[in-house]
Structure formats: C-alpha cells, structure tokens
C-alpha cells in the first residue's frame, strides 16, 4: 500500500531546500538512493457540442512504465481504465472530441529511496514549469491490504515528516480499506492532490 502526502514548504524556503532536507533525513535513517521517479498527468476536456463537460485524465507512472492510466470524470463519478502504451495514440485520434488542457499538464518527480520494506519518493510538483509544492509518497511493500498496514504507514510518515504534518488516510481509500491495493489506487491519490494543486495559483502550502 502507498500513501501520498503533501509536505508544506516553509515560508521563505524553496522546494529544493525541502527535498534536500528530507533526503538528508531519509539517508540518516539508513535508506539507500534508488534512482528517480516520475508521475505525470494530462487532462482532456470534451467538446462543448457533446453535452455535459467530461474530463479524461491520462496518467503515466515510471513505476509501471508499460501502462497508461486513464480516469474519466463524468461530473458525478470516476471511471478508470488501465491500458498499454498505445492508449496515448488513441487519445490523439480522439482530438476532435477531447482536447488537452495543455496549461494544466502537471507532474511530480524526484529521487526515490528504499529503506527495508519501505519505498519513499520525494516529488517536486510542477505545473506548466512552475513549482507548486512537495508530494511525499511512502509505500510499505509487503502488504496490500490498507486496513492491515495503515497504522504502520501513518507512524512511519509521522516520524519521518514530523508532528507539524497531519497524516490522514487517503480519501479515495476510506471506503476500500479492506480491499486489495493496486496501482490505480495510487493514481487516484495523485488525481486528488493534482486537482488541489490546479485549483491554487502559486504554491500550495497546506
């Protein structure tokens, strides 16, 4: 199971400063650096002639490089499909029906670390090349049932990020704590956070 957590950037500090601070902290705990990661999202809006506006969010995650995650937001519910890489080409074929909102293309990328059974990723979120905030992703790899591992994950995050950060169960998972966690659940957490970033001009602090 994974938990995605927004980490507030202190006033008068930069994103780079926070990434360096958290990197020092996780290395001091004994973690080893294991490359970089990248999660990106591009959203497409339906043509006005097609009725109620619908949004297709297309996600890629470097942890699942052969997959494209697609979430259709109908306004009342979300429907997802996980497809192979050619789905991106299909979106090009649909360009008459769904147009990309290029200026809201958003991504989180940065270093990833492994610490025993945990995998920690420190992501700098940028939208349209402007820095928006920090997202910390923590995974406890041996367990896929959120209910069984959530307590442990929260304790780890609280210890790692400090008491100033409120750690709550992901909204998307609240009703699914006993179901098996799969990669699309991570994508839903990114959607939740990316949507919050898009609503705010400038940096997200809380």
């Amino acid at each position: 199971m994974k938990k995605l957590q927004q980490y507030p950037v202190p006033e008068n500090k930069t994103g780079t400063y926070v990434i360096e601070l958290l990197t020092k902290r996780i290395l001091a705990l004994g973690a080893s650096a294991q490359g970089q990661f990248l999660v990106d999202c591009e959203s497409y809006l339906s043509h006005p002639q097609m009725g109620t506006t619908k949004t297709v969010h297309i996600f890629h995650n470097s942890e699942q490089p052969a997959s494209v995650f697609s979430i259709l937001d109908t306004g009342s519910k979300n429907i997802h499909v996980i497809a192979d890489g050619l789905f991106d080409l299909l979106m090009m074929k649909l360009s008459q029906h769904y147009t990309s909102k290029k200026q809201t293309k958003i991504e989180s990328k940065g270093p990833r670390f492994e610490l025993g059974d945990f995998c920690v990723k420190l992501g700098s979120v940028t939208m349209n090349q402007s820095f928006k905030g920090i997202l910390v992703e923590v995974e406890y790899r041996p367990c896929v049932t959120p209910n069984a591992v959530w307590g442990l994950l929260r304790e780890f995050l609280q210890g790692f990020l400090g008491p100033s950060v409120m750690v709550q169960a992901p909204q998307h998972l609240v009703s699914r704590m006993n179901e098996i966690y799969t990669p699309i659940d991570t994508i839903y957490q990114y959607l939740e956070h990316f949507s919050a970033y898009r609503k705010i001009t400038g940096m997200r602090t809380a």
């Binding site: 970089q36 997802h80 029906h97």
Partner: protein, 226 residues
Amino acid sequence: MAGMSAANAAPITATDSLSQALKANIIPNQEYLLQGSVLDSAVEVLLHRLRGLCDNVDAGPETFDDQEVCFSLRDPNQQAAPLMLRVRKALDYRDMPFQLRYIGQPDLGDKNRPTVVRSSLDIACSGMLIDFLNELGCRIEFEYSVKGYMFRKGRMKITVAKVFKISQGSMPPEPISQSYLVELSVLAPQGQDAIAEDMRAFADQLRPLVQLDKIDYKRLGHMGVT
C-alpha cells in the same frame, strides 16, 4: 558505472518515449488484411490444410471464443465520419484483459495492391472499459460473438471462425450464416508493404479451398440495398 548513472537519470517521459517510437516507426499501426469464407461443410478440409501449412501444428490450432461490441463516436463538428471503436472480450478466458481496437477507413488501392490496408490500434485494457466508453460519448452499434480457430505462419495470423448473434437468456447462440469467416492479417508498422506480397502468396496456397480477397464493404452495402 554507466549502469549507475542510467539508474539515477530522470526517467524519460511517456510522451517522449512515444514520440521516439513514432519517429523510429516501430509501432504496429497498420493492418494488412484479406478475407474470405467457406461453407460449414467444407471447413474441415480447410482446417486440415492450415494444420499442414502453419507454424503451431504440434499443439494443434488455438481455439478462441470472443464477444465483440462495436461502438461509434460521432464527430462533434459533424464533418468527419464517426470514429469506430471495437471491444473484444474472451468468453473462454474471463480474466484476460479487454482488447480495445481502433480501425481506420480501409484502403483498397488499385488492383496491383495485394491486400487491404487500414490503420489500426490494438490496445490491451483492464478496468471498466464498457462503462468508460459509454460515458465517453460512444454508442453501441452492434455486437456479436465469434468462435473458431487461430493459426500462425510467421507474422501472419489466420483465423477461421463462425459469427453468432448474441444469445438472449439460456438459448444457445444462433449462427448468422452457414459459413465460416476466414481472415488472413498482419499488424505491422507503416511502409512494410513486402508483407502484403507474402500474404498474397500464402492465400494462393489455400486456393481453391478458400478464396481470400480484398473485400470492399462499401460495395457489399450497396449489394444489400439493391
């Protein structure tokens, strides 16, 4: 050390790797196709011949039993023809992913061109694909099930299959004709026209058991009307 630096380099974005693949022309987005049909009474002889000619003879031909739903998505500007999308689901392997297919307009070319060529995207999908397409704005045009045999010969795929109406309730599915549909196809990147010649040569080896040809659907449509 080279390996180390590669591991620490930022991952290439999906958009970049896709445009690289497009530039290198390695994406199989063209389908070369020949079609024909045989009567039920003659299918055994054709299957026997295919068993002799094709690659996967030891294990016997692979069987399949798929349901296909065809969707259309109207052009919001009403200028282009509707976009067609097809979803296939294996009825005999229920936990396999869906196959989502985009098929473009078939190009028959002149009589020197050996096969029909049409653009095609074959995408494996899991999740709630039917709901997804419905909500996306697609409309179901028709559906059917198709059951038969699949053979391989190098890059060529040969299917011999029967098309059924979708059964209502507990009734057994009703075949739409007394014949089998035979298809010979290859998915390849753009410009690999040599494969079409190989297909024509292979189709000739199946004569006179089945005559595989470039089928013009527009003409078939007119025949239906008159």
